[in-house]
């Protein structure tokens, strides 16, 4: 799907973090949680920046896409300068894989680090719509960078926060909170005397954030026997699986972040090789 888009709003919510709403009536209904759109910053001219930018969709509201992004380079700098009503951009999408939701999911866990919480937004809503209680662990450098925190608190989710500087929630790293949550669930299972541990233990976890964080959290979860999914951000050229520029090393060889991913089962990812292959 190709579609010209209109900027509905584009405002800073933290230092260098923006909340962008795009009107995209044809694309919006097709998006599923975890997918991305490939955004051209100016379709009228300008070969710089030349390439499209892959941006995860945080939420869909009617015919609008909500996208959270950080200003990290030329492309996002240009994007931050786009005014309300701008019609110079277009997207192709939705692209990539989505967070899988098995029919029998009862006790999911969501772990988001920094802007990594954004691609998990639609997934959290999907669970809410199904009446499934999801536990959320969200971490960031500072309280200010705990994006969409208010939205979470408004719906009284089972949510805990961690910040690197202690300005909100737990003062420390997210893996501590993940271990704590696993221990609580394990105790709960013991206390209720439920023979099926799955009654309270997490049956699936969805993790998105900086790759070292994804690696650390996945290791803890996989060790506890929790099925875990992660999402990979990569610089991309085509975005549709043609150029092989955005590969992620897996136990089955190289997979494309754009077309095979961005969502992968954590157990199949070779995290150390993946981290080494990133450009900064």
């Amino acid at each position: 799907m190709y579609e010209p888009v209109e900027v509905v709003s584009n405002e800073a919510v933290a230092a260098d973090v923006y909340r962008l709403r795009l009107r995209a009536p044809q694309t919006a209904p097709l998006v599923r949680g975890g997918q991305f759109v490939h955004l051209r910053l100016n379709r009228h001219a300008a070969h710089t920046p030349l390439l499209r930018r892959p941006l995860s969709v945080c939420q869909v509201y009617g015919d609008e896409l909500l996208i959270m992004y950080a200003v990290v380079g030329t492309g996002t700098e240009v994007l931050a300068g786009k005014a309300v009503g701008d019609t110079s951009m277009d997207i192709i999408g939705p692209l990539g894989s989505c967070w899988p939701i098995e029919e029998d999911v009862r006790t999911p866990l969501i772990v988001g680090g920094g802007l990594g919480i954004a691609p998990l937004g639609m997934l959290a809503h999907a669970f809410r719509d199904r009446g499934i209680n999801v536990k959320i662990i969200q971490a960031a450098q500072t309280a200010e960078r705990l994006i969409v925190r208010e939205a979470h608190e408004r719906v009284k989710r089972d949510i805990v926060f961690a910040t690197d500087d202690g300005t909100c929630g737990y003062h420390g790293i997210v893996t501590d909170l993940v271990r704590e949550a696993l221990a609580e669930r394990a105790e709960g299972a013991e206390r209720t005397g439920d023979t099926a541990e799955a009654a309270t233990m997490f049956d699936v976890a969805y993790v998105c954030g900086p790759e070292p964080m994804q690696k650390a959290v996945s290791e803890v979860l996989l060790q506890a026997g929790v099925r875990t999914y992660v999402s990979f951000e990569r610089r991309m050229a085509c975005g549709v699986g043609a150029c092989l520029g955005c590969t992620v090393p897996t136990i089955d060889g190289l997979k494309r972040a754009c077309a095979d991913g961005p969502v992968f089962a954590a157990e199949e990812v070779c995290f150390d090789d993946a981290i080494a292959s990133r450009v900064h």
């Binding site: 051209r40 070969h47 390439l51 085509c238 549709v240 043609a242 150029c243 590969t247």
Partner: protein, 326 residues
């Protein structure tokens, strides 16, 4: 302006007739299926696949794509599943879902014998219109560019591939044995016309140019080269003037048809290449920015031909007015 129905859009690469002069550039279009949601693959003059080698190649590790002003560097390293998987998956998909598409298979190898074996294997299959022999990839250590920077090596590979194509596996039909061999040239040489003439003399049916231009990038914070292999291939609008000059130069040096490419980002760019002397053009990096660019080029070329009073697109090839030099 409505295109005149009188304009004939077909062009010829050796024995192969293309319905129009617009192709895709190898490596930028996958095997076609990745773009089937965006365009009708059978509308293309030809679809050129990602490079195919005898065995699977895993490509390069580290950073693979890097944006530059008006362009991009790539160091993919010809990652591909090998010729058997290509036939079983990609070619089978094309035969089923795009039976009317004109498919040109790009062929790579580490040695002359590997190129020959890939072509011999492909010669057993239907659904292929021609072979494009890649002697110009800057991103692999053995083969690739090494064959394309020396006239004798280029000629030797061309001759071997041409013989393999004509010979097939002995069981090939006459039609398969007639498939043209297009040799894809590197711009990373002192005199591209010399390489072009060597390939023409060795029997190439057509030449494709240019492949990417060698470049690099440095991470100043880490003080490291961005790419593990140090160098990478530059593509995109940044290279168009260089590509256009080389096509113009080679068009004057050889009499076989040329497929011009390098930085085509608009239909007008494509027209420039035709006027410079290319019989067909290929859209590469431009597909990433606008997946429908090929189709827009096809429409605009026909329209332009009518506007300019050409009854056939083939009459546009090299149709430059003489500039009187005082």
């Amino acid at each position: 302006m409505t295109p005149s129905p009188a304009v004939s859009t077909s062009v010829h690469l050796g024995s192969l007739t293309l319905k129009n002069p617009v192709m895709t550039a190898s490596g930028t279009f996958g095997s076609g299926k990745q773009y089937a949601d965006f365009i009708d693959l059978s509308a293309l003059g030809a679809l050129v696949t990602k490079g195919v080698s005898l065995e699977p190649w895993s490509g390069n590790s580290g950073v693979r794509v890097y944006e530059t002003p008006s362009g991009m560097l790539n160091s993919i390293g010809l990652q591909n599943p090998g010729v058997e998987a290509f036939i079983a998956d990609d070619l089978a998909w094309l035969r089923e879902h795009a039976p009317d598409a004109t498919v040109i298979v790009n062929v790579s190898g580490h040695t002359r014998d590997e190129y020959v074996q890939v072509i011999e294997r492909l010669a057993q299959e239907d659904g292929i219109a021609a072979y494009e022999v890649n002697i110009s990839c800057p991103n692999v250590d053995r083969g690739g560019l090494a064959f394309g920077t020396d006239p004798d090596s280029a000629a030797a590979i061309t001759r071997a591939c041409k013989e393999a194509a004509a010979r097939g596996d002995g069981a090939s039909t006459a039609a398969r044995a007639k498939r043209p061999v297009i040799v894809k040239l590197s711009p990373n040489v002192t005199d591209i016309a010399e390489i072009a003439r060597a390939c023409e003399d060795a029997g190439a049916d057509a030449l494709a140019l240019i492949n990417t231009i060698l470049g690099t990038a440095i991470n100043i914070q880490k003080r490291t080269m961005v790419f593990e292999r140090t160098v990478a291939g530059l593509s995109g609008p940044a290279i168009k003037p260089v590509a256009l000059r080389m096509v113009w130069q080679v068009a004057r040096a050889v009499s076989i048809p040329l497929v011009g490419m390098g930085g085509i980002a608009t239909p007008d760019d494509a027209i420039e290449f035709l006027l410079a002397g290319a019989t067909a053009v290929a859209v590469g990096t431009g597909n990433f920015i606008d997946p429908t660019l090929t189709v827009r080029c096809i429409e605009r070329i026909e329209e332009y031909a009518a506007e300019q009073g050409f009854s056939a697109v083939e009459d546009m090839i090299g149709a430059l007015e003489r500039r009187d030099i005082p």
